[in-house]
């Protein structure tokens, strides 16, 4: 049981003068209970991949299968768009979040809604009756994530879920996604992989629509994160500090992904204050 992409490819506006080949040859397998990160520079095909994996776009080449079914099954794959405002349609935040669970015939719609809102740090009392279109940027992103969490999909696809969130917003969203992963597969596109690297089972690195790396975090960082270079990306500061230290002879066996842990790792490599 998994969400599986085989040799996936997509070209926008085929035949038009501005035909653009957005994705080529992506193989990816997301099991329930797994977290997979997708990174790549601007325009590298990340959002296109999520649209294909969620069934919003039909593959031009290759296939996407959910739990061995021929096509994407309704309600099994949830997607949070990069621009959350394109996701809203209801008059209130709670109606918007309730739409999915209602449609799927949940018996506990109210609980699903308030649990999901609390999980992203939006107080139902304060935000439930607000129009989703008047939320601030960060509030809107949280509401969009709540809408998909409430559907409890088997596979959760998120495009930049922490962009524009404040510190607490990032903390609660990361926690909510890790909790969702206990039951679901989570596929996450991000320009800020930092916090997620500690938890990711796999990382896909895209460059101009092509996979340049697909594997676990240890392998990704083995050669000082070479796939990041190839894709024109820069490693998160916390990791880069350790990579640079290692290149100067510091003994670092395992990278830390949290700043406090990284300080401990560097202190260990320095061998105590001089």
């Amino acid at each position: 049981m998994a969400l599986v992409a085989k040799d996936l490819g997509y070209t926008y506006s085929t035949g038009a003068p501005y035909e653009s080949r957005a994705l080529t040859g992506v193989d990816l397998r997301l099991e329930k209970g797994e977290l997979c990160l997708v990174v790549g520079s601007t325009g590298s095909g990340k959002s296109t991949l999520l649209r294909l994996m969620s069934g919003l776009l039909e593959p031009g080449v290759g296939s996407v299968r959910v739990d061995d079914a021929e096509s994407v099954v309704r309600g099994s794959v949830g997607i949070v768009f990069q621009n959350p405002e394109t996701q809203f349609f209801a008059e209130t935040v709670s109606a918007d979040v309730a739409f999915g669970p209602k449609n799927l015939g949940f018996s506990d719609v109210d609980t699903a809604v308030s649990d999901a809102m609390l999980a992203v740090g939006l107080e139902p009392v304060e935000f439930g009756e607000r129009s989703p279109f008047t939320l601030s940027g960060g509030e809107a992103r949280r509401a969009a994530i709540a809408g998909v969490l409430a559907m409890r999909p088997a596979y959760l696809l998120l495009d930049e879920p922490t962009a524009g969130l404040d510190r607490r917003g990032r903390e609660v969203v990361v926690r909510a996604l890790l909790e969702a992963r206990l039951k679901a597969g989570v596929l996450l596109v991000t320009h800020d992989p930092g916090v997620f690297l500690a938890h990711a089972d796999r990382v896909l690195v895209l460059a101009a629509g092509q996979p340049v790396f697909y594997g676990n975090v240890t392998d990704l960082l083995e050669d000082d994160g070479a796939p990041f270079d190839v894709a024109g990306l820069v490693l998160p500061d916390v990791v880069r500090a350790q990579v640079l230290a290692r290149s100067r002879g510091a003994r670092i066996a395992r990278f830390a992904f949290d700043a406090t842990d990284a300080a401990r790792t560097l202190a260990g490599a320095l061998g105590g204050p001089s």
Binding site: Y18, G138, E139, G164, R170, G232, L233, A241
Partner: protein, 269 residues
């Protein structure tokens, strides 16, 4: 100068003001960073700065023009460029180059100059080659760059950018920060709204908002060095600063550093 004089603003039907009694001066040839938790009023402040919103009480003066003066609305808009948090709300042209040309065209910029302004702006944000693409067929990061190009092409006296790097990769972020530095050196007043305190640290002044009010206004170091105020405001210190602080706490001597390179250089020489 853009001067906020005891400005308050409450959205219709809202329970509390989004901006409360805010006094602030935005000077030319300077870079002001604005930080604060989600919902603290950053985007509202941006919309007040260019007259998209007008205060309920107090006033906003742009080079001496009151933004509430409807007759001078264009004078204000041409002086203050605004890059919105959601670039979709800013797209006006049917293709990329028209979108960028829209602002300056409305200002009456002559054809020849218009062409060079558009191609310059697109080059600065790295969108050269996509001139004839329909804006809604761009990736989100490309749209964000387009919105920045549109504001640059107007060559306004003041530029207010609402989280312009949120959808960009690290290289794109560095490019945009370079553009902002360049604008400041060219004498423009730049307001940079950001969740990234590392970006805010590069500004001349930083304003931290808390529930629409000024919680801090001063040199970035005064805010970033105050761990309890940072925590109170829901702000996260830049990771390199966190590492350096932790090492100091463990007894290591670490100078002021802001990049991974500087940190490692200081520790392994």
């Amino acid at each position: 100068m853009i001067v906020f004089e005891a400005v308050s603003f409450t959205y219709p039907g809202a329970a509390r003001p989004a901006i409360a009694d805010l006094t602030l001066t935005i000077a030319s040839a300077s870079l002001l960073a604005v930080v604060g938790a989600n919902g603290s009023g950053k985007s509202t402040l941006a919309r007040l700065a260019d007259g998209l919103l007008v205060p309920d009480s107090g006033r906003v003066m742009v080079d001496g023009i009151d933004t509430a003066d409807e007759q001078r609305c264009w004078d204000v808009r041409s002086r203050v460029g605004l890059v919105l948090q959601n670039p979709d709300n800013q797209i006006v042209g049917t293709v990329v180059e028209e979108d960028v040309a829209f602002g300056p065209e409305n200002l009456g910029v002559p054809r020849e100059e218009l062409r060079s302004r558009v191609s310059d702006a697109l080059a600065v944000v790295g969108l050269t080659g996509l001139e004839r693409r329909e804006p809604h067929l761009l990736s989100e990061g490309q749209k964000q760059r387009l919105a920045i190009a549109g504001a640059l092409a107007m060559r306004p006296e003041y530029l207010v950018l609402d989280e312009p790097t949120a959808m960009l990769d690290q290289r794109g972020r560095t490019d945009v920060l370079g553009v902002l530095d360049g604008l400041k050196l060219a004498g423009r007043g730049v307001v940079h709204i950001t969740q990234d305190t590392g970006e805010a640290a590069r500004a001349d002044l930083v304003l931290a908002l808390d529930a629409g009010s000024v919680a801090y206004l001063g040199h970035p170091a005064g805010l970033l060095g105050d761990a309890s105020l940072m925590a109170e405001l829901g702000l996260e210190a830049p990771p390199i600063q966190v590492i350096a602080d932790e090492l100091r706490r463990s007894g290591f001597t670490v100078p002021e550093v802001s990049t991974a390179e500087e940190l490692v250089e200081a520790l392994w020489r």
